[in-house]
Amino acid sequence: MFQKLKQHRFLFEELVKRDFKTKYKRTVLGMAWSLLSPLLTLFIMKLVFTQFFGRNMEHYTTYLFCGNLIFAYFNESTSQGMHSLIGNSAIFSKVNVPKYLFLFSKNVQTLINFALTLVIFFIFCLFDNITFTWKFILLLYPIGCLVLFNIGLGLILSALFVFFRDIQYLWGVFTQLLMYVSAIFYTIDRYSVPVQYAFFLNPVYLFIRYFRKIVIEATIPSVWFHLLMMADVLIALGVGCWMYKKYNTRFLYYV
């Protein structure tokens, strides 16, 4: 696969450029907007939920931001990645190119967006009197996992979207529900212990939790926590790759 990537490097670069340019339509505001919109969400959430959940909590803004940051990236990456195959059907039905390139290039773009939001996140942390420790370096682990997890889900979704066009609505509903069970604006310690464990079945919650542990509590999650996250990533990637391999030559019939 790396051999192939190298061979198609020029195409990949051009695809990334294309995705970037069409996304922001050469406007300055386009870029600013994609940063502004998560900040607005954050602002509204802070305004509304501080009264209910943030009263007795230190660093509630950072707590919220962790959740928003991860969830927005997950949401953007998967829902845009879903369109990467169909959107490029005119290309892959005429030229023999590896089909995962389209998804990868979309993911590069969302990753850049995520990186920019991350910078703003750290600036916010400064204002919220968060102490920066060496443990922040460990954030690279959940970020790396999240990137791969998003790619895995992107592979699955973009393949499914070729076959079933209403996946986009179903996924929209699903992510909305997922947001409510990801403890973005509330804490889970009021639930019973079994329910609290049930939260760990949600991969998105894992990523958010990891961030909060490092940034707010300055503690390192357990080894099991790391392994569980890794398992989620491997499952998503595994299923995604398998689908692409299996249906590689059959996507053509559906477009």
């Binding site: 195409l11 079933f164 053509l252 019939y253």
Partner: protein
């Protein structure tokens, strides 16, 4: 040693209700047993081979399975049975106009298309000016692609594609592009490529063109191979008879 060998290739094609339906409808139809997928053989037992420097013409009426066969030859599709063995690189110029992005400029689209065709960045940097001049689009370089007329679009597509130097070149109805003046230029360019010794596969509805240019010919009809050989004139005569209704298959 032949450069391309197609051996007993059959391709089963699917069509039917599965396009553009959603998951909900799919489940409903499955329950009602109202889900129809029609499978048919787009190509059945096709066998031919070409040598280096050959120019193969593929003829046949609409729905004969020509485009499907080319997709298998170029590796976009895989045959259901049989195998394709090819030596060296292959470039297929199928339906040139599609696959551009309307939002990007002409320049960006040129690079993107070049990348799709497997050129390197260095090669594109070197040849970009030639491409634009050949397509006569110098003044449109930085305009969004969607502002171009369809003739201009296909002119650009042709100009980029005509730089390929593959071992095997596949041309699907691309010899005639643009208005009168450009058509002449593009045909000349095409002949240049063919004349430089490339092995070429040409799909054409113009019998005259095939008679003039090809030294081997493959006649397909409804997915079946009617004839293959190097007696181009005789096969073209029979195909003409068939088109005139004098010959029944």
């Amino acid at each position: 040693m032949s450069i391309l060998e197609v051996n007993n290739v059959s391709i089963r094609y699917m069509t039917g209700d599965f396009k553009d339906i959603g998951l909900k409808e799919y489940v409903l139809r499955k329950i009602k047993k109202n889900y129809n997928v029609v499978e048919f053989w787009a190509d059945k037992d096709i066998t031919f081979s070409i040598e280096k420097g050959d120019m193969l013409g593929i003829i046949g009426t609409n729905g004969a399975g020509k485009s499907t066969l080319l997709k298998v030859v170029s590796g976009i599709m895989r045959p259901t049975c049989g195998y394709v063995r090819r030596e060296g690189s292959i470039a297929a110029l199928l339906e040139l106009g599609s696959g551009f992005d309307g939002e990007l400029t002409v320049r960006e689209n040129t690079y993107l298309r070049g990348a799709m065709l497997g050129y390197t960045r260095k090669f594109m940097d070197e040849t970009y000016d030639r491409i634009i001049d050949f397509a006569e689009l110098r003044e449109f370089e930085d305009r969004p692609f969607k502002q171009l007329s369809s003739g201009m679009k296909s002119r650009l597509a042709f100009s980029i594609a005509s730089l390929v130097h593959p071992d095997i070149l596949i041309l699907d109805e691309v010899l005639s592009v643009g208005d009168g003046a450009f058509r002449k230029k593009s045909e000349q360019k095409m002949r240049e490529i063919i004349g430089s010794g490339a092995t070429t596969i040409l799909v054409s509805h113009s019998i005259a063109q095939v008679r003039e240019m090809c030294n081997k010919i493959l006649w397909l009809h409804k997915g079946r191979q009617i004839e293959f050989g190097d007696d181009v004139q005789a096969i073209c005569d029979r195909y003409q008879d068939f088109l005139d209704g004098k010959l029944k298959l």
